[in-house]
Symmetry: C2
Amino acid sequence: MKNTSMHISYPSSQKIYVKGKIHDIRVGMRRISLLDTISVENGAQKREKNAAVVVYDVSGAYSDTNAAIDIRQGLHRLRETWIERRRDTEKLPAFSSACGRERLSDARLNDVRFPQVNLPRRAEKGKSITQMYYARQGIITPEMEYVAIRENQQNEELGIATHITPELVRDEVAAGRAVIPANINHPEAEPMIIGANFLVKINTNIGNSALSSGIEEEVEKAVWSCKWGGDTLMDLSTGENIHETREWIIRNTPVPVGTVPVYQALKKVNGEIAALTWEVYRDTLIEQCEQGVDYFTIHAGLLRAHLPLVRRRVTGIVSRGGSIIAGWMAQRGEENFFYTRFEEICEILQQYDVAVSLGDGLRPGSIHDANDAAQLAELSVLGELTQTAWKRHVQTLIEGPGHVPMHKIRANVDEQSLRCHGAPFYTLGPLTTDIAPGYDHITSAIGAAQIARYGTAMICYVTPKEHLGLPDKEDVRAGVIAYKIAAHAADLAKGHPGAQVRDDALSKARFDFRWRDQFGLSLDPEKALEYYAAAHLGDESDHCTMCGPNFCAMKLTKKMSQCLLQG
Amino acid sequence: MKNTSMHISYPSSQKIYVKGKIHDIRVGMRRISLLDTISVENGAQKREKNAAVVVYDVSGAYSDTNAAIDIRQGLHRLRETWIERRRDTEKLPAFSSACGRERLSDARLNDVRFPQVNLPRRAEKGKSITQMYYARQGIITPEMEYVAIRENQQNEELGIATHITPELVRDEVAAGRAVIPANINHPEAEPMIIGANFLVKINTNIGNSALSSGIEEEVEKAVWSCKWGGDTLMDLSTGENIHETREWIIRNTPVPVGTVPVYQALKKVNGEIAALTWEVYRDTLIEQCEQGVDYFTIHAGLLRAHLPLVRRRVTGIVSRGGSIIAGWMAQRGEENFFYTRFEEICEILQQYDVAVSLGDGLRPGSIHDANDAAQLAELSVLGELTQTAWKRHVQTLIEGPGHVPMHKIRANVDEQSLRCHGAPFYTLGPLTTDIAPGYDHITSAIGAAQIARYGTAMICYVTPKEHLGLPDKEDVRAGVIAYKIAAHAADLAKGHPGAQVRDDALSKARFDFRWRDQFGLSLDPEKALEYYAAAHLGDESDHCTMCGPNFCAMKLTKKMSQCLLQG
């Protein structure tokens, strides 16, 4: 593993830290400074200050020029003292899972293993330690205050009425309407919140497969995803050294990390689905809990009774986890053990505050299959499981589709909210048509923006390579930006306080021909600058290449401004 | 001008011609043939035929391997005999516009001029010759039957109930709810229809500017736009040799061509806005009518009284045409002459059956300015002008925004429909956020899909270079595909008959791992193949690179199929 410097820099931007009022915390934000507006009035130059814009920042220490980054050390363990001070967890003397111990003692893995060993932490016997539990006790944790602060983007001068308060965060987490994925063994992650009353979040998927990439590449992709704005990261590795790859990723990722544990469990039984057992799966859960995975996708809602409903479909089952457990049920003639063992699963998760993301094994994989009986039958079971999880204070997300035509999108949110008691919805897209492979970041951003507008709390990105191959770094970037667009468009439509500040600042910069500020405020400053620089043919201080100097509408508007003022 | 072969080929596809029943016409369509589905049942191979899918095709003769393409000759004049047979138009002995005559006789232009001279055709005195006029007389023209046939995409075997009949077309055109842009001087164009009850159409913009490209490049871009599916094409040239560039484009373009005539009129007065006169503009209209432009954007609804409303905006006026006429009003202290002369404009347009696209000079250029008083005030005037145009049987489109957050999109369609009496709506995007320059094909495809779903008939594409520079060919492709996605997603959501046939066929091919068919059915087969080929690492007959052979959900579904059938 090379010790690459992975510092992230954003133009015109500065890392700032906003201090907590309840707790001794400091929340990293990005401050984008702007140039003055210069105009000419009665022959005299006039300057007007433009207040800096402070935006949500998921890049953690990577964008702090004062922070030392060493991926062999991992990130600073931000939440460690917060967790210790609660005095309800214990540091274990060794890893509890057989797999965790084996991998650690296997000398053949010395070269690929993360160099530091952090022994795991677990709830003390009989103690509840989840954010949901604390919230229900009326406790505002440092995590809750942290997310409340970072949700408030603002124009530095005007400010924004702080609608997102620590109390609101606590109430939403207590009610199950929001989730703060925060495994006590991933103290490096900066707390964030997933819920309909907060900024829409995006998830990115990375991970090696039997056919692909190495550990270093995966760590780089994780940081790269954070650079562009990924709020959480799922490691979907199915290839070699899953355990070690995950360790490197978790130790170096400032956002929550999710997995689908059955992928690794299946590897452990050499891919033989019928050989999967609860014992293997359970050990995998514990192994991953103790590494610090923040949320698990578990396909516990797909029951034997649902399988006949799949017959009418064009694309059958397209969820990998769903197809594994369906295959298991078909081959063993038994009920889904994620379902039958769900209480035991929750017992494990609650000891580490791992959130459960109830997988939609029957999500539609084509327009034809959208909102069908199979999908809705599973959704009802997810609602039942939500209540089981909540009994144990396990934070719960509900996963959703998939492929859905626009007129069926809203029904997904409404049905989910109703059947799953308001638990946050987390959808893959949805893709609004099947006919554009190579462009599914777009087919799905169209659906994601709408489903988020109607209340979906987190949208899982899709890259241009969906259905065709594994994404490379440029695909990750394209997917993340498409989803940041969808999420932000939804924040605007939902009227999230402060969301429009950035649009207004960028549009004013556009009207002023402050190109530097347009780039600084862009979701992808590098791409905007690249296009602009390629087209730049001379002085563009008062027009741009698109229309040329004589056809610039904004230039003409300005010339008229005196007249306009007179009416 | 090189005599490039510009043939277009689509994989697995064949150009077919569907014959008319009323008229002696043949309508070009694209037939995508599919492979058989092969499955194994009780150890025996089973084959199932998959019916070919016939889709709408805008590529004209370019995708007909039997057609000779010579851009120095121009395309076959498909509609010439249809027009002649109506005996209500006359071939003129010379061009009527001063500009048209000057350009033709200027020897310095010999090298850039299109080699053929086609003298123009015009309505006989006192005759009405627009498609709207015919429709109101109860006449089904060949143009109407042509569009009815091509609107019906289908699965060749199952067929699709033919909802789009020539009678429906006639009724919609008569009521002003749909427009068939069909200048009698552009007989090369294949008739198409723009209206809420038909397939959603997309427009692409090309055109040189003072800072850019040559004639050949523009013709190539026009054909390129048709290759990817652009339904109409606006030539927004503002650079050198506008007249000649346009002639080359019109003679070689199988789709309707639109322009904003004031751009050329302004060039004629050396860019001095105050020097613009009705006489110069009038001559430009006639010049372009006689070249064969199918629709004109005219910013006739922006009045002096609206100018003070612009003061509150962040981005003022962002429509080029709008800013020109606003500047003219401000400098001259006179009312908009597009408005005061609108009846005379209609007199000219009706003699050639040029449609008017009433421009939204006050469209919002930022989220902040969306749906503001300025925009809505102009929209009401557009409604008044619609009725004026309809009195003269001039087909009319209404242009719309721009930049609109999602929650304000539907109001645009509703207000437009109400204030403009159901005339077809034609919008630019809208962009749903301002903060993603470099990705505005995506920010706007999100808005375009929604506005189209609510009834917008045509959406004008936006390329990734919007706000930053002029699009090159790859940008045109990216913009067209993003908009084909938006349009198709809207067709699905609107339940357009037959729209889902292609999605179902592609998804079935996906489930069968018929890769060839997935590419054939894709909006961009080349891109899909490129991504697939880059990832292709061996035998993928029953899985793909994304998940690898052991994690393929669809493969697993198939293994279970026996079990599923038993329930």
